[in-house]
């Protein structure tokens, strides 16, 4: 009851004209920044941070919360429309969202994405409101081995995405993880796999790899397939899904939301791990799992819901323990510290008004996000009417800008271009690119948690299995691999047996 009273006070504060106006502004900034490759919403939050000096701590948090909620969704707009993930967490949205755009169903894909994201976001904000204190106790038991186990689970979930070719998929994943390990080691300061090239000492950024592999290879393929007069993917169908159709995705969105809420609360795991695991799980449980990757609605709804479900959940360790689980929450922590607010368990008793205003504004931001998302997506959707040659030219320019913008370094542009060529070759030879990108994103995280775990626990490798939570997550990862692989292997063996018995079938 006390929570509801506090939440109603928070709602009143959130509806204050200044707070509401700035939250809406933050939402718009977040959605646009997330949708534009090269300007991530985290950059937008960092750029907005100095402006919060002019605001009260409460207004500042409402404003940044708006950018955060909008930005996490915004990345999916470019994923769905032009196959460039605006944020790493939007990567799974490319897999089924972009094929829908290719079929001329961009409006439908965007509506599904917005609805699922809003569902995940609202559920997560409610979880934050009602579940923060008990979750804080749970998160307190997490240490480096648990973070490693959670990241490991994210990595192995790739098996569900590419279970028809597990060996090649794992090979691609390990190549990605090896690429992720290029550069100076964070614990010892020793350069690895740099071959004496100074620019490689800073490592290979995953955004650069992602843009090269997905965007550039797609653009050149588009150039080969279409002539200048054709619209992308043939005739555009501006068909909105009906409420009944959206309701039919409740299972996918619900599972995604639940996974996102659970994973979001783990500091360091974040939206990317949540979205990838949700996609993998959905592929397993969905009756259309085999069709995933061809534009299946459930394959879009699940990661979208999971991605936004991590936003509220990620605020739990931030507000209760002062642990920022991601770059975005780290900026929110910085804003709190700048304004003299110390996050931690005491915050709930000393700044109750502020805490519940944050909860309320996050809830409202996810509701208003539907409007902001629709407006920005409509603007982007009209891109599909542009001749593909012109669209392609500007996707290349945006990709180059995106790669350059990561560190304002031309070397990143060269790396991006090389990965563009590699991406096209990988496409021709049907070598999976998604596991490689996932490896580059999660590999460095896994390495950091692995190395710090060993450093903190006297090089004891068994620590990953003997700690209850870490051991349970790893056991779950093993079960997940078996769950994904065993039926596929059985089917493969049966097919092989049939082919050997009747070689005509093989022909």
């Amino acid at each position: 009851m006390e929570t509801l009273i506090n939440l109603s006070h928070g709602m009143l504060n959130a509806f204050d004209p200044l707070n509401l106006g700035l939250m809406l502004l933050g939402l718009a900034v977040g959605v646009i920044a997330g949708a534009l490759p090269g300007i991530s919403f985290v950059n937008a939050m960092a750029m907005a941070l100095p402006f919060t000096y002019l605001m009260s701590p409460l207004t500042a948090m409402v404003f940044l919360g708006g950018i955060y909620a909008g930005g996490v969704f915004g990345g999916s707009i470019s994923s769905i429309l032009i196959n460039i993930p605006g944020t790493p967490a939007s990567l799974p949205s490319c897999w089924d969202g972009y094929p829908m755009t290719k079929r001329g169903e961009s409006t439908r894909a965007l509506t599904i994405a917005i609805s699922a994201s809003a569902t995940g976001g609202i559920a997560s904000a409610l979880l934050l409101t009602f579940g923060a204190p008990p979750f804080a106790k749970f998160a307190l038991t997490f240490d480096q081995p648990e973070f490693f186990a959670a990241t490991f689970l994210g990595l192995v979930s790739i098996i569900a995405i590419a279970k028809s070719a597990p060996i090649v998929s794992f090979l691609s994943l390990f190549v990605g993880m090896a690429i992720g390990s290029v550069g100076v080691d964070s614990l010892y300061g020793l350069p690895r796999l740099t071959f004496g090239v100074p620019s490689l000492q800073n490592g290979i950024n995953f955004v650069v790899v992602m843009i090269g592999l997905f965007a550039l290879s797609e653009v050149v393929e588009m150039l080969g397939k279409t002539s200048h007069g054709e619209a992308l993917g043939g005739k555009l169908k501006f068909k909105m899904p009906t409420f009944k159709e959206l309701w039919s995705l409740k299972g996918a969105a619900g599972r995604g939301t639940a996974l996102g809420c659970m994973i979001g609360v783990i500091p360091g795991a974040g939206a990317t791990v949540g979205a990838v695991i949700a996609y993998g799980v959905e592929k397993q449980v969905s009756p259309r799992g085999k069709e995933f990757g061809t534009g299946v609605e459930a394959g879009l709804a699940a990661p979208e819901a999971a991605k936004n479900a991590t936003t509220g959940a990620a605020m739990i360790p931030l507000l209760t323990l002062g642990i920022p689980g991601s770059a975005a929450t780290a900026i929110m922590l910085a804003a709190m510290v700048l304004h003299g607010v110390n996050p931690g368990p005491l915050l709930f008793s000393t700044q109750t008004d502020m805490v519940y205003t944050i909860f309320a504004s996050l809830l409202l931001a996810n509701i208003f996000m539907i409007g902001a998302g629709v407006l920005v997506a409509r603007g982007f959707s009209s891109l599909m009417k542009v001749p593909p040659t012109i669209l392609g030219a500007f996707i290349v320019v945006l990709s180059v800008l995106g790669a350059y913008g990561v560190r304002n370094n031309i070397f990143d542009v060269y790396v991006c271009l090389i990965f563009g060529v590699l991406g096209y070759i990988m496409k021709i030879v049907k070598f999976p690119t998604a596991p490689l990108v996932l490896g580059v994103i999660l590999g460095p995280l896994a390495e950091r948690y692995f190395m710090t775990s060993l450093a903190n626990y006297d090089n004891d490798l068994t620590i990953f299995f003997t700690r209850p939570i870490s051991g349970s997550i790893l056991a779950f990862a093993a079960l997940f691999v078996l769950w994904a692989l065993v039926p596929e292997m059985k089917a493969k063996l049966r097919r092989r047996q049939a082919e050997l018995n009747d070689p005509v079938l093989e022909a």
Binding site: L171, A178, S181, P191, L216, A393, L398, L401, N459
Partner: protein
């Protein structure tokens, strides 16, 4: 018919896993510039090259497994083919398995497009982002089959200007301005457009 004649195309497919295997083995030697120092830095079982080494060994393992699976597959296919050849052919069955020729990748335009993108990237530090982009967009449109000079000029000029406003004016990104005189010209245009 020999094993290799029958599976010429598939045997060529064995090249990829072999390359991964060899590549990872070679990289193990160059994982750090000074391997001895890297090994010396290790505390207990883990050091700075532990993680990349694990990844390279895993790549080698997967590549070897891929190679093995493909070789077993080829051997089984060969045996099946021999058994099939010995049997009388079923009515209506194809005389031989026509290899499905992959049509992808054949388009010359794709490779020219990739080359243009590479050249664009390498021209940015020399010509500056603005001039390189104007040129790139125009060339790309020509390659895509657009032949109207007015349309090409309009799209490249307006598109580049909009991008400059977003990235230079709003995002404050220090984009490359080119070398020598091009730097001066770019600065003058930035001032004219009120970008700086």
């Amino acid at each position: 018919m020999t094993f290799f004649q029958l599976h010429k195309k598939s045997v060529r497919g064995l090249l990829a896993p072999s390359l991964f295997l060899i590549g990872a083995t070679v990289l193990l030697r160059f994982v750090a510039e000074d391997l001895e120092m890297a090994t010396g830095m290790a505390r207990g079982i883990a050091g700075p090259i532990t993680w990349p080494n694990i990844m390279l060994y895993l790549i080698m393992f997967c590549a070897a497994a891929w190679l093995l699976v493909d070789l077993i597959g080829l051997t089984l296919d060969y045996r099946a083919h021999q058994q099939f050849s010995a049997r009388p052919r079923r009515a209506g069955a194809p005389a031989s398995a026509a290899p499905a020729e992959a049509a992808e990748g054949g388009d010359m335009r794709i490779w020219v497009g990739l080359a243009i993108i590479m050249i664009y990237g390498f021209l940015i530090p020399i010509l500056g982002f603005m001039f390189a982009t104007l040129l790139f967009v125009a060339v790309w449109m020509l390659l895509g089959g657009i032949r109207k000079p007015f349309m090409i000029s309009l799209v490249s000029v307006i598109g580049t200007t909009v991008l400059l406003y977003i990235f230079v004016k709003l995002a404050l990104m220090p984009l490359e301005r080119g070398l020598g005189i091009l730097d001066q010209i770019t600065l003058a245009i930035y001032r004219f457009l009120h970008l700086i």
